[in-house]
């Protein structure tokens, strides 16, 4: 299979993880008591807050660092993060929205063919690693793009990219076809 047809395949972004700081100390107890949809994990010292509108789960630490997961696009992630900051502001904290950064993007894609994992691993030696005892997928790392792909034998591929710029389609371009 040539690589061109790969680009035409649908890649669905399923998760975008972002972080931002509020630059102020947050009283977790107060958030936990007054927030409507929060889970307070006291033993690890964080609060989980779930928003409904952009479906987002945020992990809030008392230092003011917040990690937002569950968004389906980067804009949505930013939107959700801002909403979160706004709700914290309403709770009474002096929130400053700084250092917003998207750290991780997860996408799923499906190949119309199945893949022979052992041979694939053999042909892509340094990048691919396959441990059937541990995980049913081949873990293919592209260092230049900071991407990790998990390739399953059914043809579905999960791509995780450490965010620099939006380069999601390209890991598939450089991929080789099935043996």
């Amino acid at each position: 299979m040539d690589a061109d047809s790969d680009v035409a395949l649908d890649i669905l972004i399923t998760n975008v993880v972002c972080v931002f700081r509020t630059r102020c100390h947050l009283n977790l107890r107060k958030i936990a008591l007054e927030g409507a949809n929060v889970i307070y994990k006291r033993d690890v010292g964080k609060v989980l807050m779930k928003l409904r509108k952009p479906r987002i789960t945020a992990t809030i630490w008392s230092s003011g660092k917040i990690i937002c997961t569950g968004a389906t696009s980067e804009e949505e992630a930013k939107f959700g993060a801002r909403r979160l900051a706004r709700s914290l502001q309403k709770l009474g904290f002096q929130v400053i929205f700084t250092d917003f950064k998207v750290v991780n993007v997860l996408a799923v894609c499906n190949m119309p063919f199945e893949i022979r994992l052992p041979e694939f691993t053999k042909n892509n030696r340094p990048h691919a690693s396959y441990e059937p005892e541990l995980h049913p997928a081949v873990c293919y790392r592209i260092k230049s793009l900071r991407a990790t792909l998990q390739i399953f034998s059914t043809g579905s591929i999960t791509v995780t990219v450490l965010k620099r710029k939006y380069t999601l389609p390209t890991p598939l371009d450089s991929e080789q076809g099935p043996t």
Partner: protein, 651 residues
Amino acid sequence: MTGRVCRGCGGTDIELDAARGDAVCTGCGSVLEDNIIVSEVQFVENSGGGSSAVGQFVSLDGRRQIHHLGNQLQLNQHCLDTAFNFFKMAVSKHLTRGRKMAHVIAACLYLVCRTEGTPHMLLDLSDLLQVNVYVLGKTFLLLARELCINAPAIDPCLYIPRFAHLLEFGEKNHEVSMTALRLLQRMKRDWMHTGRRPSGLCGAALLVAARMHDFRRTVKEVISVVKVCESTLRKRLTEFEDTPTSQLTVDEFMKIDLEEECDPPSYTAGQRKLRLKQLEQVLSKKLEEVEGEISTYQDAIENELESSRPKAKGALANLTRDGSVEDTTSSVFGEDDAEDEELEAAASHLNKDFYQEILGSGLSSSSEGAGDPEEGARPPALESLLGPLPTAASLGISDSIRECISSQSQDPTDACGDGELDLSGIDDLEIDRYILNEAEARVKAELWMRENAEYLREQREKEARIAKEKELGIYKEHKPKKSCKRREPIQASTAGEAIEKMLEQKKISSKINYSVLRDLNSKGGGGLQEEDAQPEGRTATRKLSRRKTPARRHRADPGTSVGKRLRPMVSAQPAKKAAAGEPLPLSPSTLGAEPARPTAVLVESGPVSYHPEDDPDEDDPDEDDGEPCVSALQMMGSGDYGCDGEEDDGY
């Protein structure tokens, strides 16, 4: 370090005699190891006052552990040497930092197993070490990557002889193995083996092979050998059943090899799901058509009823008469007698607004939000025939519908970088809803308290304990993974000074008669000091070793290598000993050297340990009273070095 367990009696009390180079169990006396490598670690002092280890600390523990583990796996010497090489490479690349050495060693061994092709599974290693197999796997993957070693993929065929042997087929072992191998190859061709644990496949193949040769091996027996779950095995068997090969008889199978290949089972499962989805879509389309028909009937009925029923209240009537779409829904609502009238009014009002907005705005992005409630209105039209329908209001989503529409379409502009919160597109009202009011907050607090009562109680107890210990003055921060820091060797010009410094360092309690101690150079210590020193010694002991019982009788044992933690004690010990100038018969090794350099910088050369191990006289502090010759220094320098019996004699 790995917990050393005696093979004979299972006790953990192992004595290491570096002089003789062996490890002996104190419980049953069996010798566990011979020829312990004696390359030791030297400690020198840095300019900053800390000490650093010089020498091949790798060899001492690493090689021994590798051999230990390797022997348990029955690896030959060549493999062990290779593993040791891997280990050295790993150490040179600093891969052992931050990882338990046991993990790294296991990973090295497994790497060797893979490269050599021995039938050892990662599971075996994790069984031996009692470690989570995924943790080991992580370490192993990292090691392979860092050392740039490509471990060849596991072939399930490698495991067949091993498992077959364990299943005890007697003379037919070879035949069964052969059959199982053929089955496995067939499975490979049929794409059953990608992404699966090789042991699971083996188990299935062996089970079938055994049955083919008239051996009764139950699933339970097989899984105990192969180490997979019963459901996994059954799944593999069913998958195999789906392949056309399973239809062949035994003889046919041995002779014929079917040409066609099958798709992998997960692929077929995926296809099945796809097909189901398609079916569902078709069904739903049909359903909609049917609904459409029914709703038209519905409308007809409604109109009839409307005309025949008494007039509704003014406001409601007005509402229900607006528009055609609203008619359907609101009349539906109107028909429902079981519902609250107020609810109805609210619902219809909201829906009216909602639909007006829909019709008015006609936004694409809101269509999705709108589409759902709209379609949600259709099935209710159907269900109203059957019973009370869930209106938007009763579902509680009317609010969110409204907010969906009002706050969705504005695209957030980029927030300015100076940290100001860009409020565009953020609906304050909705966020207000995220904040509970007083009563709710109270309820929630109570709930949370109840949930986490356990944890809170533990915290309180811990604090109370700490406070109490603080009062008693023996509070010591018990950090979870604290490794005992090396004390700097005491530099002193005289023995007396050394003692003082040591005492300062160790923060010994107030029960000691210091003045007497200072005169201990000349004396051998009196009984008075014994008792005084006794509790002190115990506390000192307690500080250093938590594993052994604190009330252990301490001995003046300078240099066992039982635990790294105890070495600082050791370093202090000889100083005191030398200072005391004890006329105790010293142990043949280092102690003899110590008096010769009483004021020297302490070098932790502790390969030797002295064992009087005949007397398991442990945990008996009172016995000290009956032994006049034990010096205070000895008491203070606690040594939990195994048996403490006759400290006074023989040293």
